[in-house]
Symmetry: C2
Subunit: 394 residues, 2 copies
């Protein structure tokens, strides 16, 4: 069994009304905050004004970046860091989905490193070993989606505009200081985004459950997160503007899934490793990029740990107590297919805009940027295995 | 649903071989450590020497207290703090079960507070509001039992030798800096202690699951801890010197149960509140003091949340899928009784040395020292309810 080294430095506030805590705590992190807000929506929904008002009530000055787009790019981060420094900010606040949170983390990180481009720290860059990095500025994550888990992890993901890689940068010092997961901020999320974020929660939990780095702590949280997604994601997609309970449980599932791949120190597997490279090539919503890969991945790996895949099948709502563990595990690809259909996520890579000629560069990118994640898989994936998986997912 | 405010500052090392980590990390906490070791056993088992050797390898000087007895007393803590100060120590290391860990926490706390007795900070004492307490010295917990959860909580429990109360002192600053949960240190634990500690793990998890302050994060970990205890505690009691797997899973159950009542911010209920006062009067092993109370408590409360009590019944291995939630919940007292019998813990308060005349002072003590815990119960407990529960448990 894996040993377990973890600390969870992030202070979490989960539940309705928790956004208000900002007023009490923001002052601890400095005198001036830079809000990194998802483009358009945060302003339109009034969230940007609410956060500004809470910060001002806390005696904190505010600078704002409100043009964060999906899949943040290296050139944007570099530009935003200049603004952070020229404004003399003390900490960042990510407000939005994973892109806003990752932007807040990336700015807080790069601004503390004495110059250079964030590209230097991406896979293949000259400082990508992250040796001797300095303590980043504090980060407060306010997530408005149930997805990504960025508020619970030491990772940010940035697209390299030169080579289209979409690598994750991870360092213990990148854990957010505070994360606020208030389902009220998720009530107005459109069905499509609820779907693509919610399915990402499912992948975080299920991949971490069948990863080589899983442990009993992460297993308990991962299985519960899967059960919550199975029970509440459909409701959140269909009636997310009304169904407060579904939003609340999805907020919890997101938090647990994030902790599992964050400070719980389990991680995702080949599904995420290959999915990231789809995102780098196509700009498809992150959550959807894993969907085409899930069934072929499970077809390849289900016999590597039958106890766990059997439990997954059951958590997906398939099988019954009369079946043997072996039978349940063998049923897992079919169960996964059913889950994707249930949530309207049974798609191919072609649906996401991938063409055959992208498979080679995507495969290169997997080994360059996501080799660590790939190696969390219960079976070994060499280059041919990755290409085969991509082809099956087309 | 409860909102959820938590941070887990403790760095955990769980698993075989993790004691060795001490060599790498101890130097971060200062130049001189005071080891607070459980009396006799830690020396006899060679654990004290191993820890000293690891500290010396880390360049850390060592002072030793190795006379920590079960249920630490105020007068002992006061004496040990003098020794800590005269030796110029920088941090404490608890080595043993809950009493050693609590002693390490209490010393690190009191030594930082400018004089006075630890009794000042116990319930009813002149500083028991814990206002303006100073940052305690760092604490490293090395637990040699699977029980108590002290390595994951902000609590220490000290017996007041004047009035026989056994209150817990809790403060956010009392979280250990590091906790090492290495099952190898538990292999030689005698069956009786394995039993009384292991049943405490069960109570932490099950009480926190049915507490008013439960949340989905703690529910997931609590249920998993219960399942692990049901599966492995019997094996650890019967064959604990050989069964490495059982010891390992009990170490995990202990860690999860501790997190649930620690930084997960759920808590125990009337069972622990009343159990503590038994411990204050009789010096009975802490884990056993809850056993007589469990069935009467569940008889009184099972209809307060049938969904949860039904899940408890199932986690205890009782009932089947054909039963309704109501039927399963109503079965919970019987299931609890069966669990206690299974682990040789089906005892009365009289078995622990309680006499009728102790019930009044024990009841006084519950309201004085454990009112907060009592109020975590799903039903209200007034004085008559507490007396009635004690009488049923005689």
């Amino acid at each position: 069994m894996n040993t377990f080294d973890f600390t969870l430095p992030t202070k979490f506030y989960v539940g309705y009304g928790q956004l208000e805590k900002l007023k009490e705590i923001a002052g601890e992190y400095g005198k001036k905050a830079m809000i990194c807000a998802a483009k358009d929506t945060m302003r339109q929904l009034g969230f940007l004004d609410r956060v500004k008002t809470l910060l001002e009530a806390a005696g904190v000055e505010v600078a704002v970046i409100d043009d964060v787009e999906p899949n943040p790019r290296d050139i944007d981060i570099d530009r935003q860091v200049e603004y952070f420094q020229s404004e003399g900010c003390d900490f960042t606040i990510g407000l939005g989905g994973g892109s806003a949170l990752d932007t807040a983390k990336a700015i807080a990180f790069l601004a503390a490193q004495n110059g250079g481009s964030v590209r230097d720290y991406l896979a293949g860059g000259k400082k990508s070993d992250l040796a001797d990095v300095k303590q980043p500025y504090p980060v407060i994550c306010i997530t408005t989606t149930a997805g990504t888990g960025s508020e619970a992890t030491k990772w940010f993901v940035v697209t390299n505009t030169i080579n289209h890689d979409k690598p994750g940068v991870g360092h213990d010092l990148l854990m957010p200081s505070v994360s606020i997961v208030d389902p009220e901020l998720m009530m107005s999320l459109p069905a499509q985004i609820t779907r693509s974020c919610g399915i990402d929660v499912l992948f975080h939990a299920m991949e971490a459950y069948i990863a080589t780095c899983a442990n009993p702590f992460t297993d308990a949280l991962a299985l519960e997160a899967i059960r919550l997604v199975m029970k509440y994601l459909g409701r959140a997609i269909e009636n997310g503007k009304e169904d407060k309970e579904a939003r609340e449980y999805m907020a919890w599932a997101n938090t647990m899934g994030g902790i599992v791949i964050g400070e719980g120190n389990s991680g995702t597997v080949a599904i995420h490793a290959l999915g990231h490279s789809i995102g780098g090539q196509t700009n498809a919503p992150h959550g959807l990029t894993m969907c085409p890969l899930a069934v072929p991945y499970i077809e390849k790996t289900w016999d590597a740990d039958e106890e766990k895949y059997a439990a997954l099948t059951r958590a997906f709502g398939y099988g019954d107590d009369s079946m043997s563990e072996h039978e349940l595990a063998a049923m897992c690809p079919q169960a996964m297919k059913g889950v994707l259909q249930k949530f309207g996520c049974d798609i191919t890579m072609r649906d996401l805009g991938v063409t055959e000629d992208m498979i080679e560069p995507m495969t290169d990118s997997v080994f360059k940027t996501m080799a660590g994640v790939l190696n969390n898989s219960l079976k070994k994936f060499d280059r041919e295995d990755v290409i085969e998986l991509y082809k099956k997912a087309m």
